[in-house]
Amino acid sequence: MKKNNYNLAVGRKIRPGAFALRAGLLLLASLLLGGLTVANLLRLQQKDRVEKSETGQRASRQKEMDRLGGLRQQEIAAWKNIWLSELTAVNRLIERKSFSFIARLDFLERTFSPGIRIRQLSLVNDVRGQVAMTISAQSLQELFALYKKLAPYDLVISSETQTPGDYQVNLSFVISNEKL
């Protein structure tokens, strides 16, 4: 139970022994608390230092990796440029190499039947391989048989002229390298 201290004297005195004991206990408790605080601070500081050094290491490692990454990017870009120019050159060479007049003439020989004559032939040396020609056929059946064979090759019939016993046609079609 709380004691109500009722002393109105101006010159109150303190019990030195009891005061010293309480002050000592307070001091001891303060020291203990202070010690604990310092110990905790030191522990935290140590932890902080370790974390800082780890972070520093990681940062320098990251920096090194970034530097290497940059170098690699530069290398890749340089390689890419080189490869692109090489690739273009190779493609050009391939294109040049792949166009064959012989193969196209061979195709015409195999496709055209004996009743059909080629009167005029134009072959263009490019990737598309367009072929334009003027032909004459002895019969309509032979002509139609030819149309049927050339239908998959984007056949375009420019004109057809019929005279007795002869059919003359201007046509064009495309023989790409892949279809040969």
Binding site: K3, N4, Y6, N7, L8, R12, K13, I14, R22
Partner: protein
Amino acid sequence: MGLSAFFLPERLPRQFIYAGDRHAEIVRLRKQKIVERTRVAGAALVENADAAWAGIAPGLLREDAGIVFNAAPFIYNFFEFDKLPWQKKTLSDLVAWRLQKIFPENIEAYDHRFFRLDGKRVLSILVKKALLEKTERLFAEQRVPLTYIGNSTMEIMARARRAKTAPDFFLESDQAGCTLLFLNRRSPIYIRKFKSASAADTGDEITKTVNFVRNNYNIDPRRYWLIEHQDAAAAAAMEEQLAGADFSRLQTGLGAAPHLPA
């Protein structure tokens, strides 16, 4: 007990003066036991300090002393609030405001202290500053260090609250006046000071007061402490009279001076 009281424990003097209505008593203590007590008859320190001091001063030793006044110069009030603030300053302002509402005199002339009793109530005590200043001056003139000025009712109340078997009320009787303080669950609830011409009148007043408390506070006060400042015969007569009204006296178990701090 506050922090300051815990860390700065007071050293109590070993000689006390009890300032009664019409007498004073010099009491010397050793190891909390009374080793000497000298009654100075007719020394009314409150009413006529200079004359009373002439009788008291020669009996004092040049060592720390304390004085304990009886209830006569003090004014007690119980204040009840809905809720007491925890902040000391706010509480102090609140109690001062309540006191100003009921106290007709100039409060500045009084020393005012108050004690928090529970979450809602405080006990306020007023005493004239002039009395304290006069007392300090008398002791200073005699070159006796005065380290304690107390109040017998507060001392008895503090002991009653801590007693193993707490009384329902205590009665402090002196030649001219009587103080009754009622406790409920060890907490003071009602206090009354009165003067009476005879012992019979005192008994009647006590019975009336007990009935008032019984009706208003819903308690049935039976057991009491009696602190009689006159003599053993007066105490026995009072006890006998109160026994007739069905009150039973409890022994304080505190020797002959429960009104002195120890």
